[in-house]
Symmetry: C2
Amino acid sequence: MTETDTGATVGTDTAQAWLDDLDAALAAGDAHAAAELFEPGGFWRDFLALTWNLKTMEGRDRICQMLAEMLPHIRPSGWTVEGKPTVADGVTECWVRFSTSAGSGWGYLRLRDGQAWTLLTTLQDLRGFEEKKGSRRDRGVVHEITRERTTWLERRQARERVLGHTEQPYCLVVGGGQGGIGLAARLARIGVPTIVVDKHEKAGDAWRHRYSSLHLHDPVWYDHMPYLPFPDDWPVFPAKDKIADWLMHYADIMELNYWAKTECRSAEWDEASGTWTVVVDRDGEEVTLHPTQLVFALGVSGYPRIPDFPGAETFRGRQHHSSDHAGGDDWAGKRAVVIGSNNSAHDICADLWEHGAEVTMVQRSSTHISRSESLMDLVLKPLYSEEALEAGITTEMADMLFASWPYRVLPEIQRPAFEEMADRDRDFYDALEAAGFDLDFGEDGSGLFLKYLRRGSGYYIDVGASQLIIDGRVRLATGQVDHLTEDAVVLDNGARLPADLVVHATGYGSMNEWLADLISPDVADRVGKCWGYGSDTTRDPGPWEGELRNMWKPTNVENLWIHGGNLHQSRHYSKYLALQLKARMEGLPTPVFELEESHHSR
Amino acid sequence: MTETDTGATVGTDTAQAWLDDLDAALAAGDAHAAAELFEPGGFWRDFLALTWNLKTMEGRDRICQMLAEMLPHIRPSGWTVEGKPTVADGVTECWVRFSTSAGSGWGYLRLRDGQAWTLLTTLQDLRGFEEKKGSRRDRGVVHEITRERTTWLERRQARERVLGHTEQPYCLVVGGGQGGIGLAARLARIGVPTIVVDKHEKAGDAWRHRYSSLHLHDPVWYDHMPYLPFPDDWPVFPAKDKIADWLMHYADIMELNYWAKTECRSAEWDEASGTWTVVVDRDGEEVTLHPTQLVFALGVSGYPRIPDFPGAETFRGRQHHSSDHAGGDDWAGKRAVVIGSNNSAHDICADLWEHGAEVTMVQRSSTHISRSESLMDLVLKPLYSEEALEAGITTEMADMLFASWPYRVLPEIQRPAFEEMADRDRDFYDALEAAGFDLDFGEDGSGLFLKYLRRGSGYYIDVGASQLIIDGRVRLATGQVDHLTEDAVVLDNGARLPADLVVHATGYGSMNEWLADLISPDVADRVGKCWGYGSDTTRDPGPWEGELRNMWKPTNVENLWIHGGNLHQSRHYSKYLALQLKARMEGLPTPVFELEESHHSR
């Protein structure tokens, strides 16, 4: 205890001294002096607080450049260590509070030898527009009785009646999965009139309609929605229908304006009015909406992609994309070929095998596999687990800690865990390779999460299907698909795989296909590629950007935003997207530092 | 800081020394020595831990008697101070952890001059049957794929199909308001197969069907359900429809077996099978259930009670009980007489006035009024408020702290707050009395909550209606109702109150009327009066019992239980009722200390 306390005290002194220096430099408008407080290759990652952008400045020059441009607009001050720093391996780490001309800030700092290695700064609220929670909450009723009082229910019903008809939402969110719902909940809290449109019958259906064996592959601590955590008896891996029900209840509890059975038909920017003209089909009725801001929250991928395999049209069995695979019930005793070897391919192979089909997986390229248990133990546990909660790391803190690593540094942080995984699960990996499975750990050995950030594909979190492959219950074929015949898939090595069912677990197109379709190819190209940070690895071409392209931040098309990601990202980044929308609605200054150029049109 | 720390250290030493003495006496089976550690008039309040009952032992003799009887069955040990004690006004207070042969215990201790003034002990779980939460949570899925796996949805649907038909619930809860729902959630967590039956269309309807202006009269911090707190942006006083929606979502999120549109027709104990035979009407279908345990959770009152006013049958307008008052919409410009002056009467007068009726309230006896704001500031704030949360007092701790005051002591604890209220709101009370309102603060000046505990009536939490009475917008008439004519209510002082509508806000019958009706008069009489603790004040006749009669604890009819109370009580006491049911289901020893005699048959 005493040693730690002393460490913490020294850490506090060190960190606060550094923050005092930063404060002084920033107050003096001295961008150069502030940048000199960082290591020469140090990082300043900022979410809105300094840049009104999601941005990582790498090295003193970039930091200096950002500060020189932004300090006249932003007045950061009051930099203070929060809680007790930790000191380990020569790195002093601590939470930081500060404020800016716009609102209050929260951050995380790592110091080495008195210089900053990494600094994360985030804007947490907008002054005067804070969430009405805790001691700011509404009273709910006026205790002075008048004849003009309306009830909560009357107000809610009235809002449902007018919004989208006689009154326009400020924001339209296209896509009501977990991403759209969580974002809308955040917008509701800060008073941004919003409509969410979703094509399904009801919220949660995108989960409900998947194959029956689907469970979250990430553990429950990683998956909370904003504001209303799952009850503490939820299983580690909730079933898809349980998540679906949660989303359904959540959307109503959060009092969202959720238009189910509603498909977006077209969207067009109207320069004159400064609003979008969005045509939607609401359960058969055409409604034209005029939101000021348009958010696409359709997932991290575009349309299901099925390669143009020669002969596919001659195949007499059934074939569908993995996203259309409702379950293996009809395939007992039948032959199924699943093309692909990522998450969905594995899950669907297992589902078909469970239902008694003869299953063959076609692996076309190497795949990373993490065993679920190992991923939890080695990668997620420090931030998302009971142990983390007991150590006082809330979900909000965990999200910040994860974000505190710049993408440039993240591979070296992640690699040791995956090296340990390779070692710990050596027998498992050996058995997989013995079965002919082509394994990888990412091009630079940085493992699963980096693959996800770079390309959103190329991995499977093993929840049992690998064992089916190891012991041959699911057969494995390796190679490229050459063509389909009327009853088989034929590979380029000549292998012929007889099939009654072909499932194309072949991934998705690019996100901006949605934009091309619903707005215009031109707008899609102006936005450019979404996702990936320019790592120059497979499917994540450069140039380096250091933040996910176009996600949750201003794009090159004004008033158009992209939201998405897994439950963790949707939860965390929806906060910053909501603040950006609210600031614009209120007409607050939002000078954006360095809008990125668009790259890689469709 | 230093002074507090020293105080806490001394407090810890004092408290731990006392607990060590208690531990030694209990371990030695020396009931006398243990009792001597209390003040001569000290209190030991116990929820299940020592007594398998809800019981307050007053004075050393009673404590000694309880220990002498129970120590052979219960082996309490490991008494430890939890956290830092507080020391103020000569009282050292602290949280206590201990364990028994059955499970783990939690308590709260107050010491004066080295002796215990009050000790609360509660059983928190059953060893081997703990809730599967946190680190005990289920995995949710087996990561070994077999052909026998079932999904969460399949299991849930299967349970719905069989429970109550081919499989019998261990427990049947009659009444699916907040009480029944919360209890069922607790039972679900510890694996007690339970069905909740409720006559309404859907959960929450008992709230939904009330008059439109209804809001919770208690602030939000006081009102959480178990396990899933309201989001932190909920208003201080949520509207009734918002609560209704919450209950609806909650029942499904908690995966309750909730049979809506189901009325209980009859219940009979079958000695041979050791189960109840309960006939219910489920949406037109008669279903016979055979639960082992039967819980009535129909609120804290029996049937709506309308006194037999002479001439009532000649009245040509509309008359209904307050519980049937759906709202004032139809009464604009009409004359309404509301008989009664408690909570519902005030709310309904306000509702009718808001809707443009001419309203007269008939006050038949004195009424306590607390202004909502003052009640929050002076009574609830230390336990249920943002301030309390910031001071680290969770809802669970607040419930325990409230329970830590034995009912014998509670009036003297509450009285100063109501004296302050009388002073602070003197102008308000003067104005009410000037308007002719007959005020009281309880027979012993102990205020609102004691009235609630003793009789469940006799007060109004002012949320605005008092001002209507003060300024005459709602007229006040005082006296007893002599008779009704075809168009008026006539009082015993001769006053004639013309009326198109008469609302009987005249309260409810006794809870055991339900039992008489659904089971038998004999069983109802064996159970006796429910609610009230024998304070020997109006509507709470003696003898002294010191706990609410028949609530949440064993009654004189085996396998029959009564659940109810406001949101706070339902939340807290459902925990102990659930543990008693689970212990019996598992066949654990549950020796009950001193089942109370029944009093006051209908």
